[in-house]
């Protein structure tokens, strides 16, 4: 077999390993679905009522759902970072590195399994939302485009999660990353249009990467997507994915002890 064939085979082996973790401990998957659904219930059931009383449009669930999808991806990436960190601190990564496996196979395994896990979570969250009254107007083509953007977002967040997981010496070292991916969606266009926010928060919410992704998804699923927003979202995701990939590759090849 060629080097490339071995790399593909090793990547598949590593992916199977991580997926087996998910199947063995489905509670991770359950929590990855339950948390976004709870946030959805909170915003639609509690704050949604408030918004309606203030005269906003009634289908608030249609407005928040793209943000909930992004939150699902963010939560999924924090699970990924924790898994990578556990492997790193338990020493199995050191074992892999003394074996004749390309370091990228190991990284590919993390990313491929995280992508599969997060997309399943997102699918389940969307199904739950439809049960709660979410009625997106998108046709099959729009759905496909929305799925594509979601894949791109998950890739970006996962490629960032892997190096954060590798770099942290303990699970506590991940707190910063987890805080960013779980809280940043709140300070975006997810629940309130940034135009209604004040001062520097408005500027931040309008320009942070999650907003462009949320606006793109919202446009695709329940409205009209703006070409500029889609481009911004794609550039953000591709840039973050590339940065994470390069950092992860650097960490995977660097000395164990640093």
């Amino acid at each position: 077999m060629t080097t490339l064939a071995f790399a593909v085979r090793d990547s598949a082996t590593m992916t199977r390993r991580s997926l087996r973790h998910v199947l063995r401990y489905p509670v991770t998957l359950v929590v990855s679905v339950a948390v976004p659904v709870l946030v959805l219930l909170l915003f639609v059931g509690v704050f949604g009522a408030l918004r309606t009383s203030l005269g906003a449009h009634a289908s608030y669930i249609d407005y928040v759902m793209p943000g909930i999808i992004v939150m699902t991806a963010g939560y999924g990436s924090s699970v990924t970072a924790q898994g990578v960190n556990r492997d790193s601190t338990e020493g199995i990564i050191a074992r892999f590195r003394t074996m004749a496996i390309s370091p990228t196979s190991m990284l590919n395994g993390y990313v491929a399994s995280a992508l599969a896990r997060t997309l399943v979570s997102a699918g389940l969250v969307i199904a739950a939302a439809i049960g709660l009254g979410y009625r997106p107007s998108a046709d099959a083509g729009r759905w496909l485009a929305a799925a594509g953007i979601t894949v791109l977002l998950v890739l970006a967040l996962t490629w960032l999660a892997v190096p954060f997981g590798l770099a942290a010496k303990t699970a506590e070292g991940l707190t910063g990353f987890i805080l960013i991916v779980q809280l940043l969606p709140f300070i975006s266009s997810a629940f309130v249009p940034p135009g209604q926010m004040s001062g520097s928060v408005r500027w931040f919410a309008a320009h942070e990467p999650f907003t462009s992704v949320i606006d793109t998804l919202r446009g695709l699923l329940t409205g009209t997507p703006s070409g500029g927003t889609v481009l911004t979202a794609v550039i953000w995701c591709a840039g973050l994915a590339l940065a994470g990939y390069l950092w992860a590759r650097l960490l995977a090849r660097r000395d164990l002890n640093r």
Binding site: T13, R95, T98, N257
Partner: protein, 318 residues
């Protein structure tokens, strides 16, 4: 005799502190080599450099005929490593861990299953094969770890303190496995803090202290070179004790007991000569025991310090 491992002028510093300060080692193929030293001596760092996990600052290392810096992939294909901390996947079962390794070694499905089953049997893990490694005891995890190392049939195996923290049964099992591997022509590079372990297993020993090799040789050479070996004599009464002190020069008096320690190499000839002299002097000896030096004696003799006075455990830092 070909060399499985050679290191020349090996140097490594972490944060300005020299952990390895010019190490030369040579390990003949098909033998057991033991690197002996306390925590912080640089044992783990040496293993990490030889197993391509850490790059050396200076010097050259060749493992299984390949330079670790120039061709790490070729070195990785020939080696197996079992570290101080069990590197197993705790979320997978014992069998799944072994099959994972088999897949990563590109063994066929049938061959992987066959080897996994044989190793589970060999390491007394067949009964726990379907349980997740998380539920294993420390000894079982260590055995699984070694089984995972062996599935790829490595020709050179690094064992970093493989018996630290193991119960006596697991320890004996580990020793037996090492002997069988060497009998099959495998080269073993073993680090340990215990002189008796090196004594039991190693063909050659190097004593590492503060990043320098302070002594090297066969276990016999090493022990003979170290004062601290002694014969302990217990006398029946003070008459025998006084007779013995006259015969041996009285330089070994400890007040208050009938037990005396006489410095001796500990070899059979030395002990016989000692007992003959006591017999000639009519000093009645009740009990005789021969004490060979332990690691503390070795360290005290070689470095002038007890082992306790070592650097913090920086070699374990990640």
């Amino acid at each position: 005799m070909t060399s499985a491992i050679t290191a020349t002028g090996l140097r490594k510093s972490f944060g300005g502190t020299a952990v390895l300060d010019g190490i030369d080692l040579e390990v003949a193929a098909g033998t057991t080599f033991s690197l002996l030293g306390p925590n912080g001596a640089g044992k783990t760092t040496t293993v990490q450099i030889m197993s391509t996990l850490v790059r050396a600052d200076g010097g050259q290392v060749r493992v299984a005929g390949h330079d670790v810096a120039a061709d790490p992939a070729a070195v990785r294909a020939a080696i197996g490593v079992t570290g101080q901390f069990s590197a197993v996947d705790n979320l997978l079962t014992g069998q799944e861990n072994l099959l994972l390794m088999a897949d990563l070694h590109h063994l066929g499905r049938a061959e992987g299953r066959r080897r996994a089953a044989a190793l589970l049997d060999q390491f007394d893990l067949a009964g726990a094969a379907a349980k997740t490694a998380m539920t294993y005891s420390g000894g079982m995890k260590r055995r699984l770890d070694l089984a995972m190392t062996l599935i790829g049939d490595p020709r050179v195996i690094f064992l970093d303190e493989p018996t630290t923290g193991l119960d006596p049964r697991s320890r004996r099992m580990m020793w037996q496995t090492i002997r069988e591997l060497v009998a099959d022509g495998v080269t073993i590079f073993l680090t340990t803090q215990q002189l008796d372990e090196a004594d039991q297993l190693a063909d050659q020993i190097a004593v590492l202290d503060h990043g320098k090799v302070v002594a090297a040789g066969s276990p016999e050479q090493l022990k003979r070179s170290i004062p601290g070996a002694h014969v302990r004599l217990h006398f029946a009464d003070t008459t025998g004790l006084d007779a013995a002190e006259r015969a041996l020069g009285g330089s070994f008096r400890h007040e208050g007991t009938l037990t005396r320690e006489v410095p001796s190499g500990g070899g059979a000839i030395a002990v016989r000569e000692l007992l003959n002299r006591l017999g000639d002097a009519a000093a009645a000896v009740d009990e005789v025991s021969v004490h060979t030096p332990d690691l503390d004696d070795v360290f005290f003799a070689l470095t002038g310090r007890p082992t306790a006075e070592t650097m913090p455990e920086m070699e374990n830092a990640r």
